[in-house]
Each structure stands twice: as structure tokens, then as C-alpha cells.
């Protein structure tokens, strides 16, 4: 049995390793093509990863990437493509900020209230796409893309001074939240503070694994993703499953902006990070929808983000990191599919070979059993 377990680990690691190697090589080629040293930028970025203040930045950034990628991944696990994580987390962060400005409860109630606001906002927004899909057959891809754009418009509206907006210089903000809703950071001394909600990200990762792998609901969800027809025949109500998965995905997405909102900015303004939802798609892909894989991928992405500004000081363009992210996503898609097919075929061959050799589970009279089926 051990052989097949080792096999699975090999397959799980082969995809990302190949993808990363290809991406590094291609990035180096891009550098050579533009007449630059193909090695030094990477050396500089690796060096950055050694500094503790950069490490804190990386962890903080990764926590948001991680939550966004989990939101994408839970959709992927059942073949739903929630492209709308971006709109969902921004709208959710905005609503949480507004509630945080206008409500002032004790911290033990305030923080859960803000989390709940974000979850419900995100779930509501993705739920629209879910309802459209199950009632009208609208592709969730199209619906969520549209909803992203609508979210931007809604946020713009909410920012108006006579709605919930507060102008600070040229910046649109929601005003500063009451400090009962602030989540204290974890002090790392001179290196800075790690967001308190990094812990939330870790808990969500654990919860994601437990729900998917250890609950009936998770099994139904994975079955729906693996084969819609087989899941339906097994008793999963496909429509309800689509809606549930969309709601969970959106609810998770709603939390993606909160580490920075509750841990640092305390207001939703024009400076609030955007695009985390889209990056989450690439990170979920690279992480193969597994909570551990996504953690590595989120850290990798955050590293590329936070280590690349240093390049500007050495005559390189920091956009190399963006190129690299793009190349990783491209190679990931290709290499995973190739590795998956290769692995499947390899296993079929091995099973054939093992059966031919008479290694049949539970057969005490191996020698007399023949291999009938093939």
C-alpha cells in the first residue's frame, strides 16, 4: 500500500516543481532577452526573504492571499469558477468598515460582528450568481465577472459623502473604525507586527480541510466536482450543492480583506488593496486546491510581491515578479494536466502489472487466481 501513497506524494509535488522550474527558466529568458543578468534579480529577491521585516510583510500579505485562494479553491473543488472573489472581498471589507464606523460594541462582540458582516456580504454577493445559475442557468463565470464590476460601482456609491463616505484630502474613505473593532497584531519587535487575523487564516485552512475531507457535506461537494452525474446519482441535489458552494465561497471571500482592515488600515479607502481575488485564482491553481499547497503558494506570491521592490534599487524592473507570477500560472495549468494524465496512466499500468504478478488484495491463493479482467 505504501507504494501508492509515495506515488501520490510524488505526483502532488511533481506538478508544482515542474511549473516553478519552467517559470524560473522562462523568466530568466525574458531577462536575457531584455539584455539583463538572468540570475542576479533572483539572488536579490532570495536575499530579501532573509530579512525579518520583509518576512512580516510577506506573512501579512499571504494571509489575505490565502483566504482569497481558499474561497476560489472551494469553488474549484466542485467545478465552479468563482471569478467574483475580487468584488466579494472588496464589498465585504467596505461593509465591515462601515459597520465598524457606525457601531460600537465591546470588542468581544464588535469583532465577531464585523467578521459576520463580511461573511454575509460576500455570501450575498456570490449568492446572486448562485441563484442565477440554478434558476436561469447563467454561467457563474459570466455572472461573477459582471458582479465584480457592479461591486466597484456600489463601492463608489457608498463612498459618496452623503452616503457613508468621508473625504480625507483627495482620498475616499469610510472614516476610521471604532477601536473596539481593531484586532491587535502579534508584536515581532523591530520587524513589525503580524496581523492578528493571520490566525484566522490558519483556522480557515484547517476548517477547509476538515470540512472537505471529514464530513459528509465535503464528500458530496468533492463528488459533485469529480463527476456531476455520479454525484447526482449518489443522491446529491446538484442545484442545492451549487448554491451552497457559491455561498461558502463568497462567505470565505468576504473575509479576505479583513486582516488588513482590522489589523492595519481601520478604514476602507482608495488605498485598500485591490486584485487579491484575481491573484487568489492563480494561488489556488498553484496550490492544487489543497490547504497546505495554497499556503505555500500564497507565501510564494507574497514573497514575489514584497521582495521585488528591492529590484528597482539595483537597476531591474520590479515587474519581473509580475511576469513571473503570470508564467507560473501558465506553466501550472499545463504541467498539472500533464502530470495528472501521466499519473493516471502510470497507475493503470502499475495496477495491471501488479495484478499480472498476482498481487491481489486478500487473495491467499494468489497462484491459482487468474487475471481475468483487464
Amino acid at each position: 500500500m505504501k507504494k501508492f501513497d509515495k506515488e501520490r506524494v510524488l505526483l502532488a509535488v511533481a506538478g508544482p516543481v515542474i511549473a516553478l522550474a519552467v517559470a524560473f527558466v522562462l523568466s530568466a529568458i525574458v531577462l536575457i532577452a531584455s539584455g539583463k543578468n538572468p540570475v542576479e534579480p533572483f539572488a536579490l529577491m532570495f536575499e530579501q526573504a532573509g530579512f525579518s521585516d520583509i518576512q512580516v510583510l510577506i506573512v501579512n500579505q499571504a494571509s489575505m492571499y490565502y483566504i482569497a485562494a481558499l474561497a476560489v479553491a472551494i469553488g474549484f473543488r466542485m467545478n465552479l469558477f468563482n471569478i467574483g472573489v475580487d468584488g466579494q472581498y472588496q464589498l465585504a471589507a467596505m461593509m465591515a468598515a462601515i459597520v465598524g464606523v457606525h457601531a460600537n460594541l465591546p470588542a468581544v462582540l464588535q469583532i465577531p460582528l464585523l467578521l459576520l458582516t463580511a461573511v454575509l456580504t460576500g455570501a450575498f454577493w456570490s449568492g446572486i450568481a448562485g441563484v442565477l445559475k440554478i434558476t436561469r442557468g447563467v454561467s457563474e463565470v459570466v455572472a461573477t465577472i459582471m458582479l465584480n464590476s457592479i461591486a466597484t460601482a456600489v463601492i463608489g456609491y457608498l463612498w459618496l459623502p452623503d452616503v457613508f463616505g468621508v473625504k480625507v484630502g483627495n482620498n475616499n474613505t469610510t472614516g476610521e473604525m471604532h477601536d473596539s473593532g481593531w484586532v491587535p497584531g502579534i508584536d515581532m519587535g523591530a520587524a513589525g507586527e503580524v496581523y492578528g487575523l493571520v490566525i484566522l487564516a490558519v483556522l480557515l485552512g484547517i476548517g477547509y480541510w476538515v470540512v472537505l475531507n471529514r464530513t459528509r457535506f465535503g464528500f458530496d461537494l468533492r463528488a459533485s466536482g469529480a463527476s456531476e452525474t455520479a454525484a447526482a446519482a449518489s443522491g446529491v441535489d446538484p442545484k442545492r450543492m451549487v448554491l451552497t458552494a457559491m455561498l461558502i465561497s463568497g462567505g470565505l471571500a468576504g473575509l479576505a480583506g479583513l486582516p488588513i482592515l482590522l489589523g492595519d488600515t481601520h478604514t476602507y479607502s482608495l488605498n485598500f488593496p485591490t486584485g487579491i481575488g484575481f491573484l487568489g485564482i492563480g494561488i489556488a491553481l498553484l496550490g492544487r486546491n489543497s490547504p497546505v499547497g495554497i499556503a505555500f503558494a500564497a507565501l510564494l506570491w507574497a514573497w514575489l510581491d514584497k521582495a521585488s521592490p528591492e529590484l528597482d534599487f539595483h537597476g531591474y524592473d520590479k515587474e519581473i515578479a509580475v511576469i513571473m507570477q503570470g508564467l507560473i500560472v501558465l506553466s501550472v495549468v499545463v504541467s498539472y494536466e500533464a502530470v495528472r494524465e501521466w499519473g493516471l496512466r502510470r497507475q493503470q499500468r502499475r495496477v495491471g502489472a501488479e495484478l499480472a504478478a498476482g498481487h491481489v488484495l486478500g487473495a491467499t491463493d494468489n497462484t491459482t487466481k487468474e487475471v481475468a479482467g483487464r
Binding site: 471529514r214 459528509r216 469529480a226 447526482a232 446519482a233 449518489s234 495496477v351 479482467g373
Partner: protein
Amino acid sequence: MTAVELAGITKRFPGVVANHDIHLTVRKGTVHALVGENGAGKSTLMKILYGMQKPDEGTIAIDGEQVSFSSPADAIARGIGMVHQHFMLADNLTVLENVVLGSEKLYGIGGRARRKIKEISERYGLDVRPDLLVEELGVAARQRVEILKVLYRGARTLILDEPTAVLVPQEVDALFANLRELKSEGLSVIFISHKLGEVLSVADDITVIRRGTTVGTAVPSRTTPRQLAEMMVGSELPTPETAESTVTDRPVLTVEKLRLAAPGGKALLDDVSFTIHAGEVLGIAGVEGNGQTELVDALIGLRHADSGTIRLADEEITAWSTRKRREQGVGYIPEDRHRHGLLLEAPLWENRILGHVTERPNAKGVWLNPKAAQEDTRRIVETYDVRTPGIDVTAASLSGGNQQKLIVGREMSHRPRFLIAAHPTRGVDVGAQAAIWDHIREARREGLAVLLISADLDELIGLSDTLRVIYDGRLVADADPAAITPEELGSAMTGAATGHLEHEENDEPGEDEAR
């Protein structure tokens, strides 16, 4: 004079030898049957002859001349044509368009092509009309179009892959008449089948393949089906016959006036009523596409009836969800196990959970219990003789027969009261087939009610206690399996006979006209 000679053909796929030292000699102007059970290597051999795969060893000679094919185009150029089991026709094009598609250079696409088609059709008695839309044609007519397509491209040797699998007995006879025309014109036919009666009636020579190699040849006039079967499986052929009746008077499943309509309003199922008692196997015979799939969907709850009721024992289950039905004792062996019965890329133990995720031992409350599920998977693998090196391999790595045994084991493990068995032994080797029949029989003895749908009439007649015939969404006829022949059943399947079918000792049934 030999048309085709294959000598010493060996084809290895990594880890598996699909063909080993195969010899096959097809004489000109004959029908040569290639028989063997599923998975014996017939398809691989024909793919080699048709240029879809290259042999690792061995030689192919056409008309005495050694050749090497690297694509089907090469094979076609040497006069080899293949009629696939699954038709490759475009429904929304006419017969003419289908035939010329891809061979426009031969006779153009207009009058010349039409004349050629008519000429071929008349010469071989194929009765193909070039201007009909393919979607208007029945299965048998489509098959004749496929044959004509191959002849149009100049084939002198035709490979027919399981051509009778989709035909009712009367259509089979008509096909065999066509084949005799072909050979009287000097063409050769390689006929792949595992139906022994047919093989013996149509073939001039027989080559038997077992476990990837040729185990012998036979002359039909001097061979009995039993001898042939023993060559094929290397042992005695199992029979589906059930010994004694176990039918009780306790109804388990009662369906009344079930109706299911397509979105356009056309009835897919209409006025379907039947009762299955504990210990009874009800067989549904019918040409595929007459409502069997819809009936199964309605019973398992994938589609909900437009009107009518379904009762399980004393409870009306018409409005129940699929999950509730399964929890309450409806077992399901689906027609298409890859689409409805398995998660191909998931390990066997997860496939053991599929369909029973809410039940013990798979779950405790809302939590999965992987340990217990794995333990139980091991038990199923051993009890139901699923040949696998372990329970962590993916379902896709098992052969069809072993996949099916896993499904049967899974469904039986939950002690169903009512089992839907749709084509339970389709694409399954003989050994697994016998095992599956045994399991169904055993469960029936313990009071299981079974709905059996099958295209294999011998299986239907042998296993069923009661037979009903479905035609165009209605149950049009019933028959006593102890007294009916496949031919009589086949005639009812074409809609020609209704009511209670009586076996007629001397005469052929009057309605017996091949369409």
C-alpha cells in the same frame, strides 16, 4: 487465396501484453469470425489491422503482399474498412452527405456520388436511400449506411466490430443476408463477436482469442456452441438460469400509471404500471432508447414523474429525493458506470462511500468515517472478488468487470429492498458476469426485488421471473421467461407484438417481420 494474413502479431502496452503471437488468416470471399470474451484482445488486434496502432512484432499481409500501416488512411488505401460499434454519422446530414464526407475526391458530392451510392446499395442489397436524413433512420439502417460508407471508399475487406450488439434478432438476420451478398461478390468480412450462436450461423471460419493470443480455429459445421465457448473462456460457460422461483406475494415496488414527458411534451414514459414482489426479478426487454433510461431515472429519483405514483413497500416515494430513496433501500447498478456509478479518479474506498455517504459504516452523524469505510472496502474487495492490488488505487485503474463487481458489492452491502440493475453485466468479462449473476440470484433468494434492464436477451430470459417489453415509453407486452425464445421477444421489441406473448411450438410468430 488469402485476403488478409496476420502472423505473429504481438502488441505490448507498458505492463500489459494486449496481443501475443496472434495468427489470423482470412480467405477471400468469406466471413471470418473473431471471437473471444471482453478484454481478450480483439479490439487491439483490429486496431492494428486498421492502422490505428502499430504492432511491436509480427507481419500483416494483404492479398499476399506484406504491408505496414501507420494510419487508417493507409489501411483504407489497401482496401481495409472498419464499421465501428458506435456509429460515426452526423445525424443532421443526409445519407449522401455522410457517405461523401471526407472522400469528396472519389466521386464528387453530387450526381456521380448519388449514382455510385445507389449502385453499391443495389449490388449488395443494402437498401440505402441517399437523400434521407440520418436522424430519420433506425439503428439497422444506420448500420447499413456505415457499411456502404466503407464500400464507397473501396474496401475489399470489412471489419465489423460487434455489429449485432445494437440489433434485435430480426435485424441480425437481415444483416447476415447482407454479409452473404458481400462475400458472394468476393469481399471478405471480419466479424467480431462474442455471441456464439450468431457466429456459428454466419461465419465460414472462426478464430478464437483468449487472453490476448489465438487459441485455435474452428469450422462452424463441425463445432457446437459449447465447444466454442470452452475454447473462448477455457472453461465452461456460465448460464444465467435461475433454478427455482423465489417470488413471494409481498409487493416491494409498485409503480402506477407513471408518466414522464420531454420538455416539448412528448411522452418518454406513458402509463407505465408494474409491481415487483420480494424475491422477484422483473426483466424489461426493449431496443435501447425506448424509455429504459427514463424509467430508471424516475425510479432512482433523478427525474420526477409528471404523474403517477411509485411505492416502496407501504410508502409512497414519488416525491422522495434520490438520497432518501437510497437510504431507504433502493440499490442502483447504473447503466453507465463511468458516468453514474463511480468517481474514476478517486480511490476505491471513496467510491465505496459514493451513494451511501449518509449511511454506516461510511458516516457517523455528519462526519465521515474513513477508517470504517476503508475497512469495509477491503471486505467488499475480498467478498466480491474485485481484483485490485489495494483500496487506494483509483477506480479508473480497474478493468470494467472489477469496477462493476465493486459497484455490485457496494450496493449489496447496504441490504437493499429493491435493486435497479441496468445492464449489470455490460462490458464485463465472462467470469465477472457469472459472479454478478450469482450475487443477484442470492439476494433475490433473500427477498430482494430486482428490476433488470438488459440488452442481452439470454440474460433477461435466464434471470427474470417476469418479463415486460418496453416500446416507445410504454410497457406493451409481457411474457413468461420459461416459455419464450429470444426471437419471439425480439419481435415484440420492435413493437410488432403486444399483449401476452405465447410461445408457439411449430410456427414462427406471425408478427415476426424484420424491419
